[in-house]
């Protein structure tokens, strides 16, 4: 099924020996001119690209303390070398975080430091050449910006920041990545990554309303562009059509229905994900974030709630207020923005939702902490809420929950292998190999606890796992949305399920 070797799943994880150059061929398609211009980037590699690249690097060093400190502080201690899922899955030494950083750092040293200018060989400095640029393109598109390395670095060096800077430099010289840049263009024109226009959205949502009514006998609405609602729901566009995402969307709708709040989706802000972060572009990230602000203003909502989406939640939780705030026109009693898991969790705490956990008894569930939720954001007003709250929601809806190995959950979680703008078919080998550490941990709980399903709260995780887990012998439907579990177990007032349960107890 694959034209490359799928890594094996071991009983105990091992750190592989180096195999140089195994992933040197891996690179995504370069963006054509028409995908570059809408983002403000040159159409193709500019003639004086070296000069432009070094200037851009200088500019970024002056704008981002993270980049300046991270490029200086590394001592090559090796703490990060066995932490990246792409290294563990590919054995390519350039996928060790420090080695990936060195690709940029060696050029930084050469042009910006005393030692690199006068003793380049001694400190590992190198000129910016075409080969170096190609290597950047290859290996900075083998980083999913998951931040696992930053947890283990004694100075907190975050390779995501380095990758973002490298991608921004490459965009500036005209060597952008097709997948990300095409998608950002779609958001500007249509409003979402998948390019679903308003009529298609409307049609889909009506279909979902019918499905829910068929299942429960209750008219649960999924409104679009309705003014004067209390809540604007911003969710990844995959929620509108892909499995298992769409089951999650139905879950959100049922929760809102039971809570008795008015809510709406927006066709303008029909995308939670913000690919501006992947390419490290503050300007594009801000432009995408501003669509949410505009939609909230136009619709006159009081609150913003985000659906299940990992990187989106990082941008929403950590950046939205800075990029597109102040949100003084929203109700300050609620977090701005709020995660759907926080919303559901609060209702559970207040005993406002009724669950029939037995509805999920065909599943034994584990939870995959999505990297950008785990290490890039928070939930609730508590340290580690992003680990506690989704699990509490799952446990409220399921009888059988088992966590995976300690070293693979919470802030040690592994990326799914498709994050950070790598969820594209031209990187299939990388995606499959990068999923090995997660698949291995999943295999353990399958064998030890009979786990049947893995729940996630990220559109990229869900899409990636449905596609790559079959390479490891799992089936695509083993990945579920957290709010799919909620949707299965929630007992709506006046529903057929409520009547059935009443019948059983009589």
């Amino acid at each position: 099924m694959a034209d490359f070797e799928v890594p094996e799943l071991r009983e105990y994880p091992i750190v592989p020996k180096l195999k140089e150059g195994t992933m040197a061929h891996s690179r995504p398609y370069v963006a054509a001119g028409k995908f570059q211009t809408p983002l403000g980037f040159p159409e193709e590699l500019v003639d004086n690209w070296k000069e432009v690249a070094i200037d851009k690097m200088g500019e970024l060093l002056g704008k981002y303390r993270s980049l300046q400190v991270f490029l200086d502080a590394c001592v090559h201690c090796g703490a990060c070398t066995d932490k990246c899922h792409y290294y563990l899955g590919t054995s390519d030494p350039k996928n060790m975080p420090v080695a990936r950083q060195e690709l940029l750092r060696k050029v930084y040293r050469r042009y910006f430091t005393f030692a690199g200018k006068y003793f380049p060989k001694l400190v590992g400095a190198a000129d910016l050449t075409e080969e170096v640029l190609d290597e950047w393109y290859s290996y900075f598109h083998q980083c999913s910006q998951c931040r696992r390395c930053s947890v283990f670095c004694p100075y907190g060096i975050d390779t995501a920041e380095i990758s973002m800077a490298a991608r921004e430099i490459m965009d500036a010289v005209g060597k952008g990545q097709k997948y990300c840049n095409e998608i950002i263009g779609k958001v500007y024109v249509v409003g979402n990554n998948l390019g679903l226009p308003e009529p298609a959205l409307k049609d889909t949502l009506e279909g979902l309303e019918e499905d829910i009514e068929d299942d429960t006998g209750v008219k649960v609405r999924l409104p679009l562009d309705e003014k004067g609602c209390e809540i604007l729901l911003v969710t990844p566009s995959a929620d509108f059509f892909a499995e298992p995402h769409v089951d999650g969307l139905m879950g959100y709708a049922k929760v809102f229905h039971e809570a008795g709040v008015s809510w709406t989706l927006s066709s303008k802000a029909s995308e939670a994900a913000n690919f501006g972060m992947f390419i490290g572009s503050y300007e594009n990230m801000r432009k995408i974030a501003l669509r949410i602000r505009e939609a909230a203003l136009e619709l006159g909502v009081k609150r913003i709630v985000f659906g299940e989406c990992g990187h989106a939640w990082r941008v929403a939780y950590s950046f939205l207020n800075t990029l597109a705030g102040p949100f003084d026109f929203l109700d300050q009693k609620y977090p701005i923005p709020q995660h759907i898991c926080e919303f559901t969790y609060n209702l559970i705490q207040e005993n406002k939702l009724r669950f029939n956990k037995a509805a999920n008894d065909d599943m034994r569930v584990t939870f995959h902490d999505s990297c950008n939720v785990a290490r890039g954001s928070g939930m609730g007003k508590m340290e580690g809420g992003q680990f506690i709250i989704p699990r509490a929601v799952i446990k409220a809806a399921c009888n059988h929950f088992f966590d995976m190995d300690q070293d693979t959950i919470h802030d040690s979680t592994f990326c799914c292998g498709g994050g950070g703008g790598l969820l594209t078919d031209d990187l299939m080998e990388l995606r499959v190999k990068g999923a090995q550490p997660r698949a291995q941990a999943l295999q353990r709980v399958v064998e030890d606890h009979g786990v049947t399903n893995m729940a996630a709260i990220c559109a990229i995780c869900k899409s990636q796992f449905t596609k790559v887990l079959p390479y490891y012998g799992f089936t695509m439907d083993q990945i579920v949305s957290v709010h799919q579990l909620v949707s299965n177990a929630i007992v709506l007032k006046g529903s057929e399920q409520e009547a059935e349960l009443a019948g059983e107890t009589e």
Binding site: M96, Y155, G156, T322
Partner: protein, 245 residues
């Protein structure tokens, strides 16, 4: 004044100026470069006090390194805290009268030199024995370790093998500090020891030794988790916003 003394007087004044000025410039650069977005590695503390605690755990216990790799942690810890004690012990050559607590740590400081050396050798061994660490090691990584090992060995040599006139050494450094140079004993081990120390001081602000001030400026470690409550906008981002209006 002998040629040796003149040379070392000049060397130490130069090294001190380069170290202090170099570090000051670097720290100013870190402090003045904006951190435009909240990027703490989560979960992060919700308060300033919490962040101070996180940073203290990082600097005092090497918390992240402990989670990451026990061997590197042990060797790194032996080296850094061995060196700290050794440095504190050396304060006796720069103070008159010697501070009381410097006298207290004198016996520990002498053994700490062995801990420092053991840590350095352990870290160096990893650069040869672990294929991943071997791959990322540059010539300067090895030279840096050689330099530190040289300092430790020459220092231990004077303590246990070939004693130098330590009273004269102290007079030399007090003289430097009072701008009235005194003669330096021309013992080979002492000259090697001091020469290597001066080199270390000179390369500190232009090398990876910048990890020492750098860690305090690391945004993933020194930021509070409060982005939903407060905007965190950089001056250049504010300008960008203003130009749109």
């Amino acid at each position: 004044m002998s040629l040796v003394t003149t040379l070392y007087v000049g060397l130490f004044y130069l090294a001190t100026i380069l170290l202090v000025a170099g570090l000051a410039l670097r720290i100013r650069k870190y402090a003045q470069t904006p951190a435009p977005l909240k990027i703490p590695t989560m979960p992060a503390p919700l308060t300033e006090t919490g962040v101070a605690m996180r940073m203290a755990r990082e600097v005092v216990f090497f918390e992240s390194l402990f989670r990451s790799n026990k061997w590197t942690w042990i060797f790194g810890y032996l080296f850094h805290f061995g060196m700290l004690l050794v440095l504190l012990r050396h304060l006796r050559y720069f103070t008159e009268p010697v501070w009381f607590w410097v006298n207290w740590i004198q016996p520990f400081g002498k053994y700490a030199a062995f801990a420092m050396l053991a840590g350095l050798l352990g870290l160096w061994a990893r650069r040869f024995l672990v294929d991943r660490v071997r791959y990322i090691s540059t010539p300067s990584d090895h030279l840096m370790l050689a330099l530190l090992v040289g300092i430790a060995l020459s220092g231990l040599g004077m303590g246990y093998l070939v004693h130098t006139d330590i009273v004269a050494v102290k007079a030399f450094f007090l003289g430097l500090m009072r701008f009235s140079p005194q003669p330096l004993p021309a013992d080979p081990l002492l000259l090697v020891h001091l020469g290597l120390v001066a080199i270390l001081m000179i390369i500190f602000p232009i090398s990876k030794l910048l990890h020492a001030p750098g860690v305090f400026f690391s945004p993933t470690r020194n930021q509070v988790d409060n982005p939903r409550e407060r905007r965190h906008i950089a001056p250049w981002a504010e300008q960008m916003e203003a130009s749109e209006r």
